[in-house]
């Protein structure tokens, strides 16, 4: 194939390649090391400028030198050349260097393939519709670059050809997208950083952990309720339960898991479909308290729902919750012991307060109530930017700084309860949720991340206590924005005064949700249910294969028809004449290449004297239709019927 190409490149394809490389690199720039982005941009700009007059190859020594230097820097920056980030950086570097040494058509082809890989690399971080459109534009430019190796048209007509190709490719893409069997990944071990940068709750909690998370307006999950959504006071979404405490950090206590949660359901039920964003942890968020029936899930003894694998991609599941149930009535002694343990000799002032409460009130229930009352009167401030706490975190928060976020409240309260002899633990999750008016789904964001407490009371089980609500009651009803003073550093979109912006966001996120459900969420499960609705047995690979073959085959047939039609325009007169020729050829008088209609007719008439008149009449009529100045004056239908009737 190299024979088909020009030996050296002109400036024209190089300019196309530069546009393609720029469009591919641009969205990567924020994620690349600054020096690498600068290097790649410099190379592109320098060569693009130097090519305006005549293409000049870069000096030979330059690209290997740059490759070694930059490769070393990448190794230094990431510690590896493999893995997601380092791989993309390496590809970006290769793209720049390839452009530097672009001299032959083959270099442009390699460059375009590199661009395809880099466009795929964009999807690791985000798969938003915008990025998708960007990739589509990149693909059009790449097509234009390949085209420019063979034709030099003005940009617009080049883009038109590229778009025609794209439009023809789209149906094939759709068929393959829907019918190509989706194999659940991963196929091999993933690099360590494959799913880094996913926000969400952590399996441990220390002061500052959740307030940091609250800065993010990202969506944590969406819930589509079958009936009316629960009132704000019941919108507690259960995440990891933290029982173990070392004085600073709260961590999960490993418990046994069961197929069903161990509690008797009571009260009203809420049925909903969850769309949980990837957070790279095993737990599945669910409204307190989740009932059995979540597919592929198990239930920890602390009522956390656990998936089989870490949630590495957005997943959907159907869940039911009974917020009015009582849980943990018959809690095992061991787990209650765990819910009472405190590091020795920590938080003396909190312990003293606990002793005081215990002395004044006899039953645990009263102690809890008294503690909440104490918190309410302690003049604690709810803020996103709490000051740093010392070693005795509960003491420092309750008695010194008196400023904290929900994790401070929950942590200090649980310490107080344990000191007072009441089993207690921290529950993290999300509290709240907004209804998107466009699709009525409840959207819960990272800024809704929350921590609360559960205390165990004999005869009742675990009871939820939200110490934050004691000091900032509006947090529960009105969300984060309502509870915080105006001057605090709220995420832009959580601020109440920017309602128009929020409407816009709601609209955008409604679209985003549809995109997520139908494009990004199209996995093996969705594929199966869709195909089953179309009447295909997805377990039978022959049926799937046949469906794909039929789909692709009919598209190919359509393309072939298109190619034929464009190649030989339909000319009814020509076709009629050819039919006449074929009839005569069967009779033994094929038309010779140099014969015109009159000569041919004369020869044929001599050959078949019986039909001489008909042959001459047809040829005469054809010649007049073909060559006369005003063919519309002649009846072409007569000729067609004559030819039809003609037989030897």
């Amino acid at each position: 194939m190299s024979r088909a190409l020009e030996p050296t490149l002109s400036a024209y394809p190089l300019r196309w390649a530069a546009a393609c490389a720029c469009a591919t690199l641009l969205p990567h720039l924020p994620n690349l090391p600054i020096w690498l982005g600068a290097l790649a941009s410099l190379i592109l700009i320098w060569r693009a400028l130097s090519q305006i007059n005549a293409p000049s190859p870069a000096p030979r020594f330059l690209s290997p030198l740059l490759a070694i230097a930059a490769g070393g820097l990448i190794l230094f920056e990431y510690g590896t050349l493999f893995g997601k980030q380092a791989g993309i950086a390496l590809l970006a570097l290769l793209l720049g260097l390839k452009y530097l040494e672009c001299q032959r058509p083959r270099d442009v082809q390699v460059l375009v393939l590199l661009c395809f890989f880099l466009q795929l690399g964009l999807f690791f971080d985000t798969q938003s519709p915008l990025i998708g459109i960007g990739a589509l534009a990149g693909a059009v430019l790449a097509t234009g670059s390949l085209l420019s190796l063979y034709t030099h048209h003005p940009v617009r007509s080049q883009l038109r050809t590229a778009s025609v190709l794209m439009l023809q490719a789209l149906p094939i893409m759709l068929v393959l997208f829907v019918l190509f069997p989706r194999i659940p990944g991963p196929l091999w071990g993933l690099p360590a950083d494959a799913f880094s940068g996913r926000t969400g709750l952590s399996d441990s909690m220390q002061p500052g952990a959740i307030s940091e998370l609250s800065q993010s307006g990202e969506i944590a999950f969406r819930a589509q309720f079958r009936n009316a959504p629960p009132p704000p006071a019941l919108r507690y979404w259960r995440g990891p339960v933290l029982t173990d405490f070392d004085g600073q950090r709260w961590t999960i206590r490993r418990t046994t898991t069961n197929d069903t949660p161990a509690y008797a359901i009571t009260g009203a039920a809420y049925h909903y479909d969850m769309t949980l964003e990837a957070h790279n942890r095993r737990w599945l968020l669910a409204l307190d308290y989740p009932a059995a029936g979540i597919a592929d899930a198990s239930y920890a003894a602390d009522f956390t729902v656990l998936g089989r694998e870490p949630v590495r991609q957005r997943i959907r599941y159907t869940a039911a919750s009974y917020p009015h149930s009582q849980i943990g009535k018959n809690e095992a002694a061991a787990s209650l012991d765990g819910a009472l343990s405190l590091p020795r000799a920590s938080n003396p002032r909190t312990r003293a307060l606990a002793e005081q409460l215990r002395g004044r009130h006899q039953t645990p229930e009263r102690i809890v109530a008294a503690a909440i009352a104490w918190l309410r009167e302690a003049d604690l401030a709810y803020t996103l930017r709490p000051p740093r706490l010392g070693i005795d975190t509960a003491d420092a928060f309750l008695f010194d700084t008196r400023q904290g976020f929900c994790e401070h409240f929950a942590s200090a309260f649980v310490v107080l309860m344990r000191a007072a002899g009441v089993p207690a633990r921290v529950v993290t999750g999300y509290q709240g949720g907004e209804i998107n008016p466009f699709d009525n789904s409840m959207v819960v964001r990272q800024s809704d991340a929350h921590a609360w407490a559960e205390v165990w009371l004999a005869g009742e089980g675990w009871r939820r206590v939200d110490p934050t609500a004691a000091s900032a009651p509006r947090r529960i009803d009105g969300g984060l924005a309502a509870a915080l003073p105006d001057d605090s550093a709220l995420p832009l979109l959580v601020r109440p005064d920017l309602s128009w912006l929020r409407t816009l966001r709601d609209r955008w996120e409604f679209l985003g949700n549809a995109w997520n459900q139908w494009v990004l969420g199209f996995d093996q499960k969705t594929q199966r249910s869709l195909l089953r609705r179309l009447g295909l047995h997805t377990d039978d690979w022959r049926q799937m294969g046949a469906a794909m073959l039929i789909g692709i085959g009919s598209l190919l047939a359509a393309l072939a028809w298109w190619a034929q039609r464009r190649a030989a325009p339909r000319d009814p007169l020509q076709r009629a004449w050819r039919r006449f020729e074929q009839k005569l050829a069967r009779a033994g008088v094929p038309r010779l290449p140099w014969e015109g209609p009159a000569d041919y007719a004369n020869r044929a008439a001599r050959h078949c004297p019986d039909h001489a008149t008909a042959i001459r009449a047809i040829a005469h009529c054809y010649a007049r239709l073909r060559y006369s100045a005003d063919p519309t004056a002649i009846d072409s239908k007569a000729l067609h019927s004559q030819i039809k009737r003609f037989s030897i």
């Binding site: 088909a4 999807f123 798969q127 990739a135 023809q168 789209l170 494009v519 072939a560 298109w562």
Partner: protein
């Protein structure tokens, strides 16, 4: 020895069958040739294979990282590759190849084969390459148009030189797919013998009339006759044309000079056949240059006496095909 040649013979038989059945190469096809669908072959180029491998890698990455958009991009590019098959196919479909000029040359000069490529489609056909064993030409055809390409080939021996196999191919639009068609058009160039570079002077006295060799061509005017296309413009009797309105030529009768005679039999007997032909060719070309009449005598053939381009061609043709089988050898 036969054990060695038998497989080779079998292979050449097989090649012939493959050529005829698969590539539909026939001895030589009369022009014009129209490229129907079944004569166009399609295979991926090396770039196309690399593109396929890239797509496979992208597919694996999409599966591994569950990238839905990755699937979409991979499938879109696959669709692009598939669509480009039809673009390449369409570029060649229903192309019409007609014979162009193929003027005779002397051995050693490059033979020039003209081919006229055209189509009646509504879309342009671009980046079409026409290749022979020795030359490559490119044509870009606007809608419903045709263009002539010339392909040169070296000449090493006199006689008919066929153009041989002509490959028409394109990798348009993306360079991933190559569509091609192989033809053996019935297009040939007559290769005259080379001209001997330093020949001895032609025989001074001719065998027939014993006249001296004159290069001036001062024959006597013998009257007017109807114009023949091969007559030189100098021969046209312009005055007579002005009077009668039809083209007439002056007719000369060999006078004192008489026709020159180039006789194969009078050349030195030791001279090799090719050298004889080259010498005769040189003498004749010189004679034609000087516009004199000459006669060519070859074993069993006598041409002339006559003059002019037609006679020159007839004689050179006899020299070119002297002692050669009638049929055109296959390239």
């Amino acid at each position: 020895m036969s054990a060695l040649t038998a497989p080779r013979r079998l292979w050449s038989r097989l090649r012939q069958v493959i050529d005829r059945r698969l590539f539909r190469i026939r001895p030589a096809e009369a022009l014009p040739i129209r490229l129907p669908q079944r004569r166009i072959f399609i295979l991926p180029t090396r770039a196309g294979l690399v593109f396929g491998l890239t797509l496979f890698a992208m597919l694996l990455a999409s599966i591994n990282y569950t990238l839905s958009l990755g699937f979409a991009l991979t499938f879109l590019l696959a669709g692009l590759g598939i669509a480009s098959i039809f673009h390449a196919f369409r570029t060649l479909l229903e192309l019409e190849i007609k014979a162009g000029a193929a003027p005779p040359v002397h051995c050693g000069e490059p033979a020039i084969f003209g081919l006229n490529i055209g189509h009646h489609g509504k879309t342009p056909r671009e980046a079409i390459y026409i290749r022979t064993a020795h030359a490559t030409a490119r044509v870009d055809l606007p809608p419903d148009s045709h263009a002539t390409v010339t392909l040169s080939a070296p000449t090493t021996r006199r006689g008919w030189q066929p153009v041989g196999s002509v490959v028409i191919d394109t990798v348009f639009p993306l360079g991933l797919i190559r569509a091609w068609s192989v033809l053996t058009p019935d297009l040939k160039v007559l290769v005259y013998p080379a001209l001997e570079s330093r020949p001895p002077p032609p025989p001074a006295g001719t065998g027939l009339s014993g006249q001296a060799y004159t290069a001036s061509g001062d024959d006597e005017f013998a009257g007017l006759r109807a114009h023949r296309p091969t007559d030189s413009p100098r021969q046209i009797a312009w005055k007579a044309v002005a009077r009668s309105g039809t083209l007439v030529s002056k007719h000369f009768q060999g006078g004192a000079g008489g026709p020159q005679v180039f006789d194969w039999h009078q050349l030195p007997p030791a001279l090799a056949e090719e050298t004889r032909l080259q010498r005769l060719a040189r003498w004749m070309v010189d004679a034609a240059q000087n516009d004199v009449r000459w006669t060519l005598i070859l074993p069993g053939v006598q041409l002339g006496p006559d003059r002019g381009a037609q006679h020159r061609h007839q004689c050179l043709r006899s020299l070119a095909l002297f002692n050669q089988p009638d049929h055109v050898p296959r390239a």
